[in-house]
Structure formats: structure tokens, C-alpha cells
């Protein structure tokens, strides 16, 4: 393994993030080739975390731009500090300087509020720019972002063109609520993060929920593998796994049975319909699968769990 990839691997692990080589290699290449990294995957698989690790690996700042529907250039790029401008106008009230001059003064850099995109290209040290959930912004914004990312300069009508002092490392994440444009895809390195495998999730539970009973951790991880095969409004991610583990421990549950699951279903499913569907339709099958695993002896392995999961519902 390339020593730098090994270092990033190590950093990912130290950050409590159970890394795999795919992620470490992609992060390294994004840094080495200076290409933006586009990370896709379902919600709750730790996409945002990757950008944080990248910033740590580079020992630099992380600037985050959270996207949402209707996000526009003023929120992403820059905005004038209107309060400060108003105060300044008041202070200048008595002066007899011409209007044009006063106008130029309040539309100068001192009154400019840098939003994430402008901030990211005008730092002394290149930061990591995280454009989070780009799929939630509209396609117009995607095109605009592409423009900024390829030109690395911004034109502000009142000031002129602001050229980048540094080129940031860019990480984009998407939950795939909408297809992204080909132009954007082609500019980026691509990383797909799937839900963790049984073994990986077991490791995460054991590491992040200290003191959890080893067998309960196996049962929880197997349950998650099975329940993710079910078609739901919102498939539970790793965050839900951890919350659920904590809830089960708080209720002094030492192993998974129908009562324990029904009591804590609300932690796992954020939609009422999902909870109802699992309780009514799938819970028996899942618990049945876990019982089959119990019969096969321990420790459980990913292959066995996957086989049981296929019996419940073949992979889509």
C-alpha cells in the first residue's frame, strides 16, 4: 500500500471511522490529483465524515456548504453586510462627500460577508470545502458551482473579479434524491459508500458502544443486515444502529426478542409507516432468521448473515 494511503487509513480508523481501502484510496487520490471527490450513498453511511478526515489528514480547515432547495449564490458565495452598511451611512450623515464616493465606500471589501464558496478560495492555506447534499440544491446551482470550481474566480459587480488565492480540496456528497449532471460527475472522482457489511457494522458497534455484550452486538448487527433488505421509506443507517444499541442497553436488554424490538422500534424507524410495516410484516421473519443463526453456532460471519438475508428478501 502506498504510505500516504496507509496514513489516511490510519486517520480514518483513529477518527472512530471504520475505514476500508476504497475510501482511503479515493481520499488520497482526490488530494494527489487535486480533483473534487463526489461521494454518493444512502443517508447515514458516514459520507460527511470522510471530508472531516480529509481535513484532518491535510491539517487544514473544513468549510462546509450545506445545500438545500432554493440555495442561491448570495447564500453560497457572498452577501453584503447590510446592517454594517446602514450604520456606516448614518455615521456619514453629516459629511458632504458626493453620493458616488459614499456608495463606493460601502460597497467595498470591508462590507463584504464571505460565504463558504468565496471563503474557501480566499484563504491563506487551502481548506477542504465540503459541499454537503448537493442533490438537494437545484440543477441551476449545480451549474453555478461547476463554474466556480473550474474558474476559481468570482466576479462581484461592485468590486470586480476576485481570483482564488488557493484552490481548495473539494468534497461533494449526495444522497441520490436526484441524478446529478454528467458534467459534474466527469469533473469528480467518484466514491460510492454502501451500508456496512455485517462484520464492519459489528466492529463499529463494538467500538462505539463500549461495554456492549458481544452476543447482543452480533444480534443487533445481524438484525440491521436483515432489516435493510426490506423496502422502507427510510432505511436505518449506522447512526440508528448505534442509537438503538444504546437504547437496548439502557433498558437492560441482554438479547434480542420480540418484546425488546417492539419496545424500541421508534429509535430505529423515523417513519410511522416503516415501524408498522416491520412490526406487522417482517419482524417474525427477521427474528426467525436470527434464531437460525443462533442454531449454527458462534461467532457469526458475514456470509452466513447474508445467506439468511437472501432467504428473507433477495438483494435488489
Amino acid at each position: 500500500m502506498h504510505p500516504e494511503i496507509a496514513r489516511i487509513h490510519e486517520l480514518l480508523a483513529r477518527g472512530g471511522y471504520i475505514a476500508d481501502r476504497t475510501i482511503a484510496t479515493s481520499v488520497y487520490l482526490s488530494i494527489a490529483l487535486r480533483k473534487p471527490l463526489l461521494i454518493e450513498g444512502a443517508a447515514g453511511v458516514g459520507k460527511t465524515e470522510v471530508a472531516k478526515v480529509m481535513a484532518r489528514a491535510l491539517e487544514t480547515d473544513l468549510i462546509r456548504l450545506q445545500c438545500y432547495e432554493g440555495l442561491d449564490a448570495t447564500t453560497a458565495l457572498y452577501e453584503w453586510n447590510y446592517q454594517k452598511q446602514l450604520l456606516h451611512i448614518r455615521l456619514m450623515e453629516g459629511s458632504d462627500r458626493p453620493v458616488a464616493e459614499r456608495e463606493a465606500e460601502i460597497f467595498s471589501e470591508a462590507f463584504l460577508l464571505k460565504r463558504p464558496l468565496l471563503d474557501a478560495i480566499t484563504r491563506a492555506q487551502a481548506p477542504v470545502l465540503l459541499v454537503d447534499e448537493i442533490d438537494r440544491a437545484d440543477e441551476e446551482f449545480e451549474a453555478f458551482l461547476l463554474e466556480v470550481l473550474s474558474d476559481f474566480q468570482v466576479s462581484i459587480p461592485e468590486i470586480g473579479t476576485v481570483a482564488a488565492t488557493t484552490v481548495p480540496y473539494v468534497v461533494l456528497t449526495s444522497n441520490r434524491t436526484r441524478e446529478l449532471g454528467d458534467a459534474l460527475r466527469r469533473r469528480c472522482l467518484y466514491l460510492w459508500i454502501d451500508y456496512p457489511t455485517f462484520d464492519k457494522e459489528l466492529e463499529i458497534v463494538q467500538r462505539k458502544v463500549p461495554g456492549i455484550d458481544a452476543h447482543l452486538a452480533e444480534q443487533i448487527s445481524a438484525f440491521m443486515q436483515l432489516v435493510r433488505r426490506v423496502r422502507l421509506e427510510k432505511t436505518p443507517g449506522v447512526a440508528e444502529t448505534l442509537d438503538w444499541s444504546a437504547a437496548l442497553i439502557a433498558l437492560h436488554r441482554e438479547h434480542l426478542d420480540r418484546a425488546a424490538v417492539e419496545e424500541t422500534l421508534g429509535v430505529l424507524f423515523k417513519h410511522q409507516d416503516d415501524a408498522a410495516a416491520v412490526r406487522g410484516q417482517w419482524l417474525d421473519g427477521i427474528l426467525d432468521g436470527i434464531r437460525t443463526l443462533e442454531g449454527a453456532g458462534r461467532p457469526w460471519n458475514g456470509e452466513a448473515v447474508a445467506r439468511i438475508a437472501d432467504r428473507l428478501q433477495p438483494r435488489r
Partner: protein, 394 residues
């Protein structure tokens, strides 16, 4: 991570050895690999090939897994593309020996972490999974809309027509009401224009007497549709005409022509409010529906007779499989002129998504250099993508 042994040693020497990178051969192999990916439908061009080489130089080339991951990060930019990439990678860099295929899309090496035992388990697992799926014990639950979205147009039955129309209308409406990111000053806009408000107040000593507003611009796309209704397109054209019909009703600035051996304008017929009546009238108006195709001649007729339909803000959409029985030169010339006069030329080809299809028929080959976007149009998902292309032009 430690170098894996055992499994690697049993491998026959790879045909295109990634392990022995001599500079010249590596470049040739990477370019060859990129070409293969391109033939399989990935958008891999020279820029991507160059990036692939840079990526390989940045990693430890002796580590096959690392080289694989590096190439994949650069060359495959969606989960679907990754699947195509995986298959192509195995084929190209390693001749098949039976036990090399990853069980479930896992990267090579991952299953081999603990040697032979894990590999056997994985294979067993894989086989069993295959059997279980073949049994058909349980059906995957898809929503009807989703099935329709992915279903090829050529396999639709008449019952599904209404549902299709509804989805198509929804797409067309979105095309029509797209808001631009750009805004313009407006008396009653719902966005407050602080910048202009402040500027305005300067003239009154900083007193804000009036709040100025902006609104988002609505971009209008003008569309000219040229739809092939010849015999080779028969399976598709009736459904595509529906899309065209819905689009025309939603956007309002669409002019529609159909062609097979000749060209007919059907904008007026499709303007009727009832789809079935409109289809009947189009069929009546177009004498050679489902005949042979003379794409070049039809395009030429369009350019000569409807010169006013094109300007640099117009999107020209041609829907055809490119099976031209006419003169290739006429087609090439007409395409070049169309490209010059329209803002953007999109060619939708229903066959593009068929496995193994390559635009080799003569018509397609001469037309392709003059096309901005060459995209599939065989199901609703592909039409949704069309919406994106439309949005980008203005």
C-alpha cells in the same frame, strides 16, 4: 495492508500485466482499457484516460487492489458505471479462470482476506444465493410506478397508457415551470433586493422608504421536435409521440414534425386537447407512417421550409434510430447546418440502451459529429434525463 499471498500465486500471468509496468505499455493498456469502457457505454474520454494514468502513477502500482481502486475512482462515476467497470476490469486485466469473479460486486481481494477458506465460503454463498433467486420463492416488491419507469416502451400494453401519460405530463410540467437561478428586478417579486434597497436609500440619507424586490426568472426553452415514425421505430414512436404531445401542451413553445420518407408538421394536430383524437389526426395527416426512412431528405426539407423555427436559443430534438435508407451525404450536410443554426442538437435513440448497440449504422455515424447530446429514449427514466438537457440550454 499486507500483500495477499496464496491466492495471488495461483493466478496465471495476466495478459496485460499490471504488475510489470513498463511506461510505454502501461499507457497503451490504459488507453485500450478506456476504449473498452467507452464501448460499454461509460463516458470516458481522453481527459479521463489522462487522469487514469495520473492516478496510476500516484499509487503503488505493484499493488493490484490499489491500482483497481484508483482506476475505478477515476473512470466510473455512478453505481451502474461501477458495475460495468468491474466486469470490464476483470475481463481486460485478467483472463477469466473461473474463480476470479467477485461474489457480489466486492472488490477483488476483499474476499481473499483470509485465504482459501473465505473464498470457498464466498463462492458457496454466491451459488446458493443464485439458486434461491431462481426458485422465485419471494418476489421483490416494486411499486407499479417504478416498474413503468424502467420498462422499455416497446413492451407496454394499452392498459398502461394512462399511467404513462400521467408521468409524462408531470415531467413536461417540470420542464415548463423551471425557475432560473438568475433573478430580475420586479415590482412585486417575493425576494427582497437588499442590495438595491440600500443603494436607493443612500440618496435619501440612509432612510429606507421603499423596499425593492426581485423575482426569479422563468426560463423559456423553445423546442423543435423531429420524430421518426418509420417502420424500424414503430415500437417506440407511438409512445414518444405521447411524450411530445405532453411536452407541447406543457411548454407551449414546441414545434413538432414527424418524418419517415417525407416530413410533415403535426404541431397543429397535436394541439388538440384529446390525445387519442390528436393521435388519429396525426396518423391521418402522415401518409407514410411506418414506412422506410429518409432522414437526410426529411431534415433538408425541414431546414428549407421552416427556416424561422430555428434560432440560437432553440433546442432541436431528433428522435430516431438512425436507420437511414437515403443518401448519407445529404444527411451529413443537413446535420451540419442544423448544428449551426440551432442552439443545441439532441439526438434521442431508443436503441441506445439495448445491450451491445453501437451507432454503426451509416446514418448514425455521419450524424453523430453534429450532435451535442446523444442519449437513450427507451423508457421514462431516460426521458427524465432529457428534461435536464433542456434546462441547460438557456
Amino acid at each position: 495492508m499486507e500483500r495477499r499471498s496464496g491466492r495471488e500465486d495461483r493466478r496465471p500471468a495476466p495478459a496485460a500485466a499490471l504488475d510489470r509496468p513498463r511506461r510505454g505499455t502501461l499507457v497503451a493498456h490504459v488507453v485500450g482499457f478506456c476504449r473498452l469502457l467507452r464501448r460499454r457505454g461509460l463516458s470516458v474520454g481522453a481527459a479521463e484516460a489522462a487522469d487514469a494514468l495520473r492516478a496510476l502513477h500516484a499509487v503503488d502500482l505493484a499493488d493490484r487492489r490499489e491500482a483497481y481502486l484508483a482506476l475505478r475512482a477515476v473512470l466510473a462515476s455512478s453505481p451502474d458505471a461501477q458495475r460495468i467497470f468491474d466486469a470490464a476490469f476483470w475481463e481486460y486485466w485478467m483472463p477469466p479462470t473461473g474463480d476470479e469473479q467477485p461474489a457480489d460486486g466486492r472488490a477483488p481481494g476483499e474476499t481473499a482476506a483470509d485465504g482459501q477458506q473465505a473464498l470457498d465460503r464466498a463462492l458457496l454463498d454466491w451459488e446458493e444465493a443464485g439458486e434461491a433467486a431462481a426458485d422465485g420463492e419471494s418476489m421483490p416488491a416494486y411499486s407499479p410506478v417504478e416498474v413503468l419507469t424502467r420498462k422499455d416502451f416497446s413492451t407496454f400494453s394499452a392498459d398502461e397508457l394512462d399511467e404513462i401519460t400521467a408521468v409524462v405530463f408531470a415531467i413536461a410540467r417540470r420542464v415548463a415551470t423551471r425557475l432560473s437561478r438568475r433573478t430580475r428586478a420586479a415590482r412585486r417579486g417575493h425576494l427582497v433586493d437588499l442590495r438595491r434597497t440600500i443603494r436607493h436609500s443612500l440618496r435619501r440619507g440612509g432612510e429606507i422608504l421603499e423596499i425593492l424586490r426581485r423575482e426569479r426568472k422563468i426560463t423559456k426553452t423553445r423546442v423543435v421536435l423531429l420524430c421518426d415514425v418509420s417502420g424500424s421505430m414503430d415500437l417506440y414512436s407511438r409512445f414518444l409521440i405521447q411524450f411530445v404531445y405532453a411536452l407541447q401542451h406543457a411548454v407551449g413553445r414546441v414545434e413538432t414534425f414527424v418524418f419517415s420518407t417525407g416530413l410533415s408538421e403535426v404541431t397543429g394536430s397535436l394541439a388538440r386537447t384529446d390525445l387519442r383524437a390528436a393521435l388519429d389526426e396525426v396518423a391521418r395527416q402522415v401518409p407514410d407512417w411506418s414506412g422506410g426512412t429518409k432522414i437526410g431528405r426529411s431534415l433538408r426539407a425541414f431546414l428549407d421550409r421552416h427556416a424561422g423555427a430555428l434560432d440560437h436559443r432553440t433546442v432541436a430534438i431528433i428522435i430516431s434510430d438512425g436507420w437511414d435508407t437515403g443518401d448519407a451525404e445529404v444527411l451529413e450536410e443537413a446535420m451540419a447546418e442544423l448544428r449551426r443554426r440551432a442552439g443545441r442538437v439532441i439526438w434521442l435513440n431508443p436503441l441506445l440502451a439495448s445491450p451491445g448497440y453501437e451507432p454503426i449504422c451509416q446514418g448514425m455515424r455521419v450524424a453523430l459529429p453534429h450532435v451535442d447530446v446523444f442519449a437513450p429514449a427507451h423508457n421514462l427514466e431516460s426521458l427524465r434525463r432529457l428534461e435536464r438537457y433542456l434546462a441547460r440550454t438557456s
